[in-house]
């Protein structure tokens, strides 16, 4: 980076981040400490002293902690099975177990509701077979939330642990074995203790993502009056015309949410990451697989069952619903129809708008963030001045805090007209702004990592050859980070297409997203249309994932 042009880039980045990140978050924090025009802690005491608000905080912690424990156990066991045992179809199982990552949590929740809810398929089948009106079980409210949070959350632990086990130098385990320890003793004394920080980091990622999740408690909890922080904030904003102080309380509540999430992430960043054992691996020795003998099929059956229950069954449930004429009819062949798909794609204005909006948002957000990400990561990777750490930090905030909190900040910041008439509130632009800010971290990270692989001497060689900074950026850097730019574009495109948490707070009539449409249809009782739209979304996501995996040769995608 050289003098004046570099400064221009830095100032440009800082201004962008100030508008997109600092302004909404600053407004949010300011609002939380303002009560009747004065700085105070009143809003916080209202959260802690009002029973229903306090209970939401307690519920958030409860479901997140329980589901984190369960997901960590499940993720660790599955990672060990895939990385260290000789089960049949290891590669297929490995990929299959990552699939829950592709299904948006709120769609997973809707699917599970149709599978195990009071009127779900399992209960209907049971009641039909037994000719009774009493369901086999009623899972609703907190246990349903915990169940879906667990099954959609374990991949965080599964992926980090799997990566750790695969990168681990096999000599460390062999040294244990040659010292006289048998397979399970090596696991207990060496593998597990060495993996503990990695598993811990994965567990905290699960916890943070669970406490920030909106879709699952919205679908599974709210109908049962079981509120957590995210859904309570949503409800307060939804009713801010009815409840006095609603916005102020929601803001204070979002502070709690943000602080809990931030503590978790800081703990990972500064404590666990430092503890993770980086082990030099010498020769390329394959990690030794535990020969399971006859246990091999049992563990295979277990892993297969997990995929069946966690991925296949819910998708089948939602597909059956989408194909059925009306919710409640048995999903038999004579009740099958494509009418629901036709309805959401061609008849219903709301869903047609939502599809158009989501495609517009995803295309523009991914293109803009990738361009910005390229500029910002260039400053971060190549820059020498102190401002680069500030820029890196600012760019990573919106993704680190819960989406609900960030969306609330956007509302408070932009809920007014600027210069008399510029008002983006209640337009699609506020959603676009929020998306750009939130997913900027993705492209900064992705482009940054490919930029780090371009040695600075390659650029210096261009400068020595007489090319200017802009020219060498265009001729040398851009072609070399092309795959990183592509990956960044896709990594933003996919989640923005399926986004719910932010848009559910920022949407207005005419500016719905697909996520909002699926959610509203479900809430409004049009379960079959909701399911049809969800299936369309799942198909697009799986196709997109397949595409990116093929094009990047497995570097990105699952």
């Amino acid at each position: 980076m050289r003098t004046s042009k570099g400064d221009v880039v830095i100032i440009f980045s800082l201004v962008l981040l100030a508008v997109l990140v600092v302004y909404p978050l600053g407004s949010l924090i300011l609002r939380a400490f303002l009560s009747e025009g004065e700085v105070s802690l009143d809003n916080f005491s209202k959260v802690l002293s009002t029973r229903e608000n306090f209970i939401a905080l307690w519920h958030s912690l409860f479901v997140s902690i329980i589901s984190t424990i369960l997901a960590t156990f499940l993720g660790t066991v599955l990672a060990w099975i895939v990385a260290r045992t000789d089960i049949p179809f290891r590669k297929k199982i490995k990929t299959g177990l990552m699939m829950p990552f592709l299904i948006p949590p709120f769609i997973a929740a809707i699917a599970w509701l149709q599978l195990i809810g009071p009127a779900g398929y399992i209960n209907s089948i049971y009641m039909t077979v037994k000719e009774t009106w009493n369901p086999l079980f009623v899972i609703y409210g907190k246990w349903a939330v915990i169940l879906v949070m667990t099954v959609s959350g374990y991949p965080f632990v599964y992926l980090t642990t799997l990566g750790g086990l695969e990168r681990m130098n096999p000599s460390l385990e062999e040294a244990g074995q040659i010292s006289g320890a048998g397979t399970f003793r090596v696991m207990k004394d060496i593998t597990l203790p060495m993996m503990a920080p990695t598993i811990g980091a994965g567990a905290i990622l699960v916890f943070v993502s669970r406490i920030a999740n909106f879709g699952i408690p919205a679908v599974m909890g709210m109908p049962d009056n079981y509120y957590v922080l995210t859904t309570k904030i949503y409800r307060l904003i939804d009713q801010s015309f009815v409840i006095p102080d609603a916005q102020a309380i929601a803001t204070a509540m979002s502070m709690f949410l943000m602080i809990i999430a931030a503590c978790g992430l800081l703990f990972v960043k500064f404590y666990l990451r430092g503890k993770e054992y980086t082990v030099i691996s010498g020769k390329d020795v394959q990690p030794k697989l535990v020969k399971l003998g006859k246990w091999r099929y049992l563990l295979f059956a277990f892993a297969f069952l997990v995929i069946l229950v966690i991925v296949v069954l819910p998708v089948i449930a939602i597909l059956l619903t989408a194909l059925t004429r009306a919710w409640g009819l048995p999903p038999t062949l004579d009740n099958w129809t494509l009418e629901n798909f036709r309805y959401v794609l061609f008849d219903l204005d709301m869903s047609r708008r939502a599809i158009r909006n989501s495609i517009f948002l995803a295309l523009s957000a991914s293109t803009i963030t990738t361009l910005m990400g390229a500029i910002i990561s260039y400053v971060v990777v190549r820059g020498k001045m102190k401002s680069r750490q500030l820029i890196d930090f600012l760019a990573s905030i919106p993704y680190s805090i819960p989406g609900t909190v960030f969306a609330l900040g956007m509302i408070i910041a932009w809920n007014r007209a600027f210069w008399g008439r510029l008002n983006i509130y209640n337009t699609i632009w506020i959603i676009l702004f929020a998306y750009i800010a939130r997913y900027l971290a993705y492209s900064v990270r992705t482009v940054g990592s490919s930029l780090r692989q371009v040695d600075v001497s390659l650029e210096e060689a261009a400068w020595v050859s007489g090319s200017g900074w802009l020219q060498s950026f265009k001729d040398i850097v851009l072609p070399l980070i092309k795959s990183g730019l592509f990956a960044s574009w896709f990594l933003v495109f996919m989640p923005t297409l399926r986004e719910l948490t932010i848009s559910v707070l920022l949407w207005s009539t005419g500016n719905e997203t697909i996520g909002v449409a699926v959610y509203n249809l479900q809430e409004g009782g049009d379960v079959t249309s909701s399911a049809a739209l969800a299936i369309i979304m799942i198909i697009v996501i799986f196709a997109g994932n397949y595409l990116i995996k093929k094009i990047t040769r497995g570097e990105y995608g699952y």
Partner: protein, 350 residues
């Protein structure tokens, strides 16, 4: 302590033969090195002795006990072989302190805490790490970590110690120092050592015997001098040290050689019958002398001179034949015409 016997070992990996026809008897207390280029099967062989790999055919015995014999359905897992092993990457466990690392094999043997720590202190003393027990691996240098790995391998009084390129991650100076330390340690403890390396200097500095391997097969087994002075074949001659290969034709009376690429210059040398009419004369650079230009001898031009301090390396071109020569002094410069004089006693033929 014990010897190790490998009989007709063969190892196939998915149709690829990594080790073939490998027979070797290692005596109790001997230091044997498996030497060869990467992919020659030396590490595979070592890992078959350790028990991490099961041979396809053949048998491995440690002491009196057969530990691997697929034909007889015998396979003793690594943890029951009582072997010490030192890995290329040290494999010192980062979550345990030095003392716990070293004492671990005794912990498995359920030796009381006090006794095993006492023994661990003693072994650490032996590898010159006395008093370092409370530290953690990341506080140690690469060389110190390697000593921890040695101590951990020694503490169980192993039947045999296996060392898999233990020095290749250390810098050059430390590597040389550790060679002598490992040799010294072996003399003091009398443990049988099987050592794997691709570095011939390492092999020569420590070994009682060297096993040269290539493409999964033994090329030669012998003491250091035998390997260097009487290489069994062209591969060994080429792999160990530097050597010139000069294609020659044998005269009809078999009393002299003609160097083909250099205008059929004649060298007087009685060639044995069994060698045939075309031979590959092999001679090491230090067995050649250079003298002032004289018409009677093989004549060449100095094309490169490299000064190494203790020796001077010359590249001579005689006709089409390049010849490496190493002398003590720098006597000639590039472009000089010189006579090339061979020490005929050191000739080898392939």
């Amino acid at each position: 302590m014990a010897g190790v016997v490998l009989e007709n070992i063969k190892k196939n990996f998915d149709g690829f033969t990594a080790v073939n026809n490998f027979t070797l008897e290692i005596k109790d207390g001997e230091f044997v090195t498996l030497l060869g280029p990467s992919g020659c099967g030396k590490t595979t062989t070592l890992r078959m002795i350790a028990g991490f790999i099961e041979p396809t055919e053949g048998s491995v015995s440690i002491g009196e006990r057969i530990v691997s014999n697929p034909a007889g359905h015998i396979f003793v897992p690594p943890e029951e072989r009582n072997i010490g092993m030192v890995f290329q990457t040290y494999a010192v466990w980062p979550h345990m302190n030095i003392l716990d690392n070293v004492a671990y094999p005794l912990k498995i043997k359920k030796i009381a805490r006090r006794n095993r720590y006492k023994k661990a202190e003693q072994v650490l003393e032996l590898v010159q790490l006395g008093g370092m027990g409370k530290r953690y691996p990341h506080q140690l240098s690469g060389g110190q970590q390697q000593r921890v790995a040695l101590a951990r391998a020694l503490i169980m009084d192993p039947h045999v110690m296996l060392l898999d390129e233990p020095l290749s991650n250390l810098d050059a100076k430390l590597r040389e120092q550790m060679r002598f330390e490992i040799k010294e340690l072996q003399k003091r403890t009398g443990v049988t050592i099987i050592y794997v390396t691709h570095d011939q200097a390492e092999a020569m500095a420590m070994s009682d015997r060297i096993v040269v391997m290539n493409r999964g097969e033994i090329q030669q087994i012998g003491k250091t001098e035998e390997i260097y002075e009487k290489p069994a074949n062209k591969f060994v001659a080429d792999f160990i040290g530097l050597i010139n290969f000069i294609p020659c034709r044998v005269s009809r009376d078999r009393r002299s050689l003609f160097i083909r690429g250099a205008g059929n210059v004649e060298i007087e040398y009685p060639v044995p019958e069994e060698l045939g009419d075309d031979v590959l004369l092999s001679v090491r650079p230090e067995d050649i002398d250079l003298q002032e230009y004289s018409r009677k001898n093989l004549v060449g031009t100095v094309t490169r001179v490299t000064y190494f301090g203790n020796i001077v390396d010359y590249l001579i071109r005689a006709g089409d034949v390049p010849i490496r020569v190493q002398l003590k002094e720098k006597e000639f410069t590039e472009g000089d015409r010189v006579s090339v004089i061979f020490d005929c006693k050191k000739f080898l033929f392939y």
